[in-house]
Structures are given as C-alpha cells and as structure tokens.
Symmetry: C2
Subunit: 402 residues, 2 copies
Amino acid sequence: MSNLTISRRGIAMPESPIRKLVPYAEKAKARGTKVYHLNIGQPDIATPPSIMKAVADAHLRVLEYSHSAGNESYRRKLADYYKRVGIDVDYSDILITTGGSEAIIFGFMACFDAGDEVIIPEPFYANYNGFAVEAGVKVVPVPSAIETGFALPPVADFEKLITEKTKAIIICNPNNPTGYLYSREEMETLKEIVLKHNLYLFSDEAYREFCYEGEHFSAMQLQGAEENVVLMDTISKRYSACGARIGAFVTKNKILLQTVLKFAQARLSPPGLAQILGEAATDLPEDYFDETKAEYKKRRDVLVKRLNAMEGVFCPNPGGAFYAMAKLPVKSSEDFCQWLLEEFSYEGQTVMMAPAPGFYATKGLGNDEVRLAYVLNADDIEKAMDCLEVALKEYGKLNPKH
Amino acid sequence: MSNLTISRRGIAMPESPIRKLVPYAEKAKARGTKVYHLNIGQPDIATPPSIMKAVADAHLRVLEYSHSAGNESYRRKLADYYKRVGIDVDYSDILITTGGSEAIIFGFMACFDAGDEVIIPEPFYANYNGFAVEAGVKVVPVPSAIETGFALPPVADFEKLITEKTKAIIICNPNNPTGYLYSREEMETLKEIVLKHNLYLFSDEAYREFCYEGEHFSAMQLQGAEENVVLMDTISKRYSACGARIGAFVTKNKILLQTVLKFAQARLSPPGLAQILGEAATDLPEDYFDETKAEYKKRRDVLVKRLNAMEGVFCPNPGGAFYAMAKLPVKSSEDFCQWLLEEFSYEGQTVMMAPAPGFYATKGLGNDEVRLAYVLNADDIEKAMDCLEVALKEYGKLNPKH
C-alpha cells in the first residue's frame, strides 16, 4: 500500500450533491422505470442550429491557441451584446473563460487568499463550495427563506456576518437554485453594503435572459460600484450550449482584470471551436429569446400550479431562471428523493429531483425542500407531477409521522 | 480610489515570460519588418481535416454537458490509443481535461497543500510556476545543464533537495523547453527515487509522438510505481489542435482519480465540441505521425546545424518535442531578443525567440540561452537563421565585451 497523500483540499472537496443520486436513477432505468429528470439544469432546448453551423463552416486550417483573454472579435461582439441588454462595457472589460465555472474560479483566485471569507445568500449554487475549497476560502452563508420566496436577506443579516476577513458578497441573479429574481432595489442595497464595507460583489448572471416577472437588473448597471462589481457569465443556459464551456469574466476594475489575465495565460486559452459558436450567438435575431422564454414560462406555470395544488406542498413562484424550490411534507428530502428512485414508480414512471440540503451551507436547513429544474416540456412536467403527487401520498402512508 | 485588495496569490502570479516581448514584435511588424516566430509552441502543421470534419458532421441537437470525466466513448477510444503506444490503461484510469493545463492544475490541487514542495528539473515549462502559485506550492528546481544536453540530473542532486514537505517530482518528456528525451534508464532512476521517498511522479507527455532519437518511454510504463505515476497529456501538439483545449489526467491511483473527479465535477465538464474532435483523432491512420515527425525532424536538423555553425553558439541536439535550447554569445538573452525586435532587421526581417531565464527558477541561470520552437517550415527556419547569424555579429560589435 502506498503512503502517498491526498491534499487536505482534495479531501475537503465536496462531491456533487446533485450527482449523488445518479446510481439510484441508473438502477431505476435498468428496472425499466422511466425517470423524469428535474434534477439538473441541462436544458432540452435545441442549441440554435445557426451557431452550430458557424463552427462547421469555419474551416480553420490550424486550430490554434486563441489569445488568453479570448478572440478579440468575439470580445467585441460580446460587448455589443451586453450593450443591447443595457450593460455598458467595452471589449477590454471582458475576458473569455472556459465556462462560467472558470470565471468564478478566476475571481476566487485573484481576489481571495486562504482564510478569507465570502458571504453568500443560501441556498446557493452548490459548486461555489467547491471553488471555495480550491481557493481555501470560507463560505459564510446568510440564510434566505422559502416563505419570502428567497428574497434578499435584510442588510442587518449581512452586516452581522461581516468581519475583517470578509472580501466579497456573491449572488446569482436570477438565482440558481431558487429562481428568485433580485429587484433593482435589492441590487442597490447590495451596492450600499459592498461600498460601505469595501467588498467585491460577484454577480453570477447565467440566467439573465430568463426572467418572467419584471426586468433583469444587472450588477454591472449599479452606478458607482464599478471597481467592486464582477460579472460572471456563461453562454451555457442562454443558448442551451452547456457543453461549449464558454463564459466570461467581466469587470471595469482594471487591476483585477490584469490579475485575472495572468491566471488565464497560465491555462493558455479558452476553447477555440466554442468561441466561434459563442461569437455566432451574438448574431442571433433580437427575438431569439422570445420563444425560449415563453416556453420556460409555460413550464414554470405548470410546475408551480401543480406543486401548490398538492397537499402540504409550498412552492413560491420563481421570477427567473428555470428552477423552483418546493417545500414538501417530508422529513428528509434526501431520503424521499432516493426512495422515489429506489422503491417508487407510478405507471412505470418516477421523478428525480435535487434534495435541497446540498444547496445550503447551514446544517439542518432545507431538509424538507427540493429543487426542481423545469427543463422538460410541459407534458412531461405534468406526468412528473402526477408521479410526485401519488408518491407523496404513498410516502406519507409509509411514514405517518410526517 | 478603491481599497479592494488583490489576493497575495494574484500578485504572486507570474506573467507569461513568453508573451513579454509581444509588444516589441507588434511594433516591428508595424514598421514593416517580417518577424519569424520561433518563440511559441504553436505548430503550423494543419489540424487533420478529418477530425475537424467530425465536429461539423456531429449534428448535435443540444450541445449538452458531458460527463465530468469526459465522454465514455472518447475515454474508451483514448485507452485504445494508449495501448497502441504501449501504455496499458483502462478507460476508467482516464479523466478528460480542458487542455493539458487543467490536468496539471488538478494534479496540484488534489495532491498538494499550501507549503508543499515539488522538485522539477530546470529549465522547465514556465506555466508550472503559475500552477504552483495557484496551489500555494513551492517549486524546488534541480538544475540540468546545456553541456549534457539537459540530461536528468544525478540522483544525489534530487536527494539533497528532498525534505518532508516534498510531495512530487515533475518531468516533461520529451521536454519543453529543452527537447530532451529521457531514456528508459533515466525513467527507472526517477521511479527508484519516487518509490524510495514516497513521492508522486507527474509526467507531462505532451510531445510523446515527436521523438527523433530513440523510443519514447512513458512514466506509465514503469512497473511497480502505478500508485505514484500521473500522466498529464494533451492533444494540442499531437494533432496540432492547441485551440481545442482537450487533455487527459491518467493514473492507476484510484483514490487520486476519485479526488480529481470532484474537482472535475465542480467545473462541470470538459469542452464538448472538442471532445468529438479528440475522439475522431483516435481513428487517424497509424502512419499519421510519420509525415509530421519527418517534417519536424527535418526542421530540427536544419535549425541545429545552422545554430552550431554560428560562432560562439552551442545547441545540443534535442531528441524530441519541437524545441531547442541554444547558448548564445550574449550576456543577456532578454536584452538580445528585445534588441532583435526593436532595433535589428536583415533584408526587412527579424527573428523572435524566447529568452531562457523565463524557464529557470534559479536566478542567474539561462541568461545566455534562448529557446527556439521549430514550428516554421525549413525554408523559413533557414531565413530566420540568416537573420540570427547576421544579428549576432552586429550585436557583438555593439557590445564588444561579450
């Protein structure tokens, strides 16, 4: 046997909480049970054929390294896209990353040292935990509540958590996993906090285009916080191109961007074929999102209505993204979600959801909550809800105490 | 002004030493001077059209996330490729990464903690410094010498550097920047050291196919060091597909691979389009490399012959990769390389090379050395060498003390 050691951060690195249930889903499928996947944010929407065609038509002789900050032609067209959605940035404020994930890692690496703290409203995107472990950073959660639809917690809740080690507040808007869309007022509140306490504001806006109640207000639109704000972006959800791995790190803070460029140089360049795809996406017609947005809204309406019609279930209406959080009449959503895959089926079908505890940093929160991604068509969502409705009744009989 | 801080690691992060001269090259071009780029490892060889076509022909409806470890179909075919080159691995030993860069970062993150030490024969690939800063790891260089062609330093040189903090030895074989091809005996020597001192052996084999003197012997072929060895690989150079950003982390150490998978899950998946390209590349005919290898060998022969024919220049014959290190009759290769771009031209042309100090960790080493990448055709290399020959004479007159 070897005495070779795994690093402490390697041991601390969390497993994907969303993927924990995958073996049970595979077994269910092996038994012939159809599984409705509401557990992951992989849209079923077609990637626009025109942007796939742009890659096919590029006919590069040599697939070369691009500039470490991404192709300038793409950065310029991306700046135009941002201007069209009301975000006034120059191409020189943009660094193209390998997915939104790399934008977040770069931000952590460039802004924080080991032992630094970042405040994140919880529940939050689970992979922030992983990035925090990589950078040695402590995540300090500030709880938001399902009763308010996961609105921004009060300023006082933030302020009591701010220490001299606090370096940033991180938000995701509209939010994954809650679907909550922060209002302009909430964004202004965040601005006041970060200016007062000299913090970065990292804003993950992967779902910008998918807002169903009101307009999206970007952190980049906050006046007077230009040095503080970093926009972490991605084309994954916007154009249903999750596999492209193209994102962006956007900031007007030049010293920070120059620092991030050094991290970008170490990994040489972002993916080349996918940059062509990303650039082509900036040429999609203005009404491209109308259809997708209408489709997601329809699905959301079906999902939320069905959930709230079930006994003991509460699902606040999410204003954006394609996620909903629901409170279920169960003691442990982890046990329930596993049971759905291991033991339950209705007309040969079952449903897979993400147990909410994986999105909370505070132990004990979210035990009776699940996240549902409405990435299936409305008919399939109806069938998945049929399953869930029957399942909750059956599970309630088996576990009468809840 | 803002009081927002950049992290210590962000400040410590090195700039790319290879790119430092880029502004001078741009100015030279603006003056109308033709610049022969021997400074970077961007091959001019065409990416095989069949693998580009595979991407165009894939016709995916949705460009989805792949498995975090990469597509199983690709991993299986990559395992077959490894078997064909004498490396016996199963697909389950392979995790597909975003370029070789990510394989190296994953290794650093999963195996080392802040304060740990890694021993690397110098000169070495400059970006190891960046990855070390990201992971908080100390690079301990063990000098190799141009006089021996940069052969592996003696065991005693390694052993005197090994402390309780030493966690790994990192090699690149064939080597970037030296072109040195480690012999089987040298690899066995490394095995003895890592087994005796319980270290990882990270082996960066980006240039495996390009060996001109003798056979490549992979670290994965070392018997009895299966737990210690990690192969860091990439398709960038092999198929002239640097922009694809597809690499691999390969090890039979299951605990390590499971740990790396957690880092891979946090970033979701490697690039999807480029995985199709990588998979198609495993279907290229067996003789695919013959032509490319013959081409690089021809270039190397021209380059090395021309260099050694110049007064005061010494260039050991590199056994692999597409780099050569040369000792020049100059005091500072950094000054000389800048002068070549800023002040020199011969028949309207000049040459760009990488000053060697960027590849050394020990201050003062490599001051009179440069790295030349033979990524241009033989005719262009002849012309570049014409420039260099004239330049050295002219520079010698201007700086008579050297």
